[in-house]
Subunit: 211 residues, 2 copies
DNA sequence: GCAAGGAGTGAACTGTGGTTCACTTCTTGA
DNA sequence: TCAAGAAGTGAACCACAGTTCACTCCTTGC
């Protein structure tokens, strides 16, 4: 056997793969999922079209991985907040703010992850991720209900509804022009208050403290 | 002049147009916007592909008209509820329930209107329609705030958030299997309570009365 | 009946974008 | 240095719609 795959070789290999993945994410950030044609991604990565296919079996897989990777990172952050210490109301506000801040800062990427038209595969994945996010919110709600901090309610429905509410409020702005800093914090303020009311935070004082 | 366009002629013409439009809506209902290829619509309408293009300049226009028509009808109904008499809390519940009931009853059509991946044109239109719906909800909220029935808040944000919340809760089920009657009413119950809390209905009693 | 002109037809055209694959280039280990 | 095999290349291929247009069919009014 004259050729054996060395550590150096597979590292180079992995690097190329990563290059393509990063390029894909960049293209999505700029041109959306629709704009992420293989040719465009390859050009951005500085490789040939065929090379992309050496590392990913199909465009669908590539796009799916971009979506999954991006969302997983966001989900992990939100999850950390959810699992952190502190009263549920604070955690809820922190989660909403984190999600919102990230979304507003990411430009088109967030829109692509949340709402952009795309293929069936990515769509399914997106539904899963939204459900995941809803579950995270639901767990805060469940905690709040258990401790009596929130009114009694169905955590699953509330979690899902919160995800929808936050997304919708953020997509609106995203689809239009970017907001100024002031507008941003104002929208955020309104949004968190909406969320606090929605879960029925018991003590009105928390509304003030939470910020 | 040997040929003049008669009333009968243009009526036939209009009828063909309507036939195509109805066929398009049916196809969307069954196969979604993605499945509404010109060939499929033409086949359903019982006309040739070229005939579709005699009545609509492009697929985009056809799809856009389907979306607009469908949404306009729904919007009108919600608008009627919004402008009806009665306390804001009741109107809000009625609006949510109407929207939800329609969405749940329409099968894939609602999903297509609210969330399905599609072309840029329909997407823009959809954003407009969602904004319209948000405005309707916002006006109820504004009324509620003005009369003191709801807590103080930014009606625009709350309206948008409500649309998002309702959509998300409904799309989840829609994307999965259809719900049984019991599940439906349970989800609806949770959803309306969420909405009531979210706008900060002052009297908890209203929560009971509203149903 | 028949000429004029609009409606209807569907095969062919076109543009786009994913995918393939014969070929070239590079790396490895003897 | 060189043969083997992996990585990289990109022109060509293909599939899938949307769109066009030369042609046929039908209605109208003389």
């Amino acid at each position: 056997m004259v050729y054996r795959r060395t550590a150096a070789a597979s590292e180079r290999d992995a690097r190329t793969r990563t290059t393509i993945l990063v390029a894909a994410r960049d293209v999505v950030r700029e041109s959306g999922l629709t704009g992420a044609a293989i040719a465009a991604v390859a050009a951005r990565a500085g490789v040939a079209v065929g090379t992309v296919y050496r590392h990913f079996p199909s465009r669908d897989e590539l796009i799916t991985e971009v979506v999954r990777e991006t969302c997983d990172r966001e989900l992990a952050e939100v999850a950390a907040v959810v699992r952190s210490d502190g009263p549920p109301a604070d955690r809820l506000v922190a989660a909403v703010e984190l999600f919102a801040t990230r979304a507003l800062a990411s430009g088109r990427l967030a829109y692509s992850m949340i709402a952009e038209p795309t293929t069936e595969a990515a769509e399914v994945l997106r539904l899963v991720i939204r459900a995941e996010l809803a579950k995270l919110f639901a767990s805060i709600v469940a905690d709040g209900v258990a401790t009596g901090a929130f009114e009694r309610q169905d955590p699953a429905t509330s979690g899902t509804a919160l995800v929808g509410a936050v997304s919708e409020v953020l997509i609106g702005p995203l689809a239009r022009q970017p907001l100024s800093g002031d507008e941003r914090s104002e929208v955020l303020e309104h949004l968190t208050q909406f969320a606090m009311r929605a879960v029925g935070v018991r003590s009105p004082a928390t509304l003030e403290v939470a910020r």
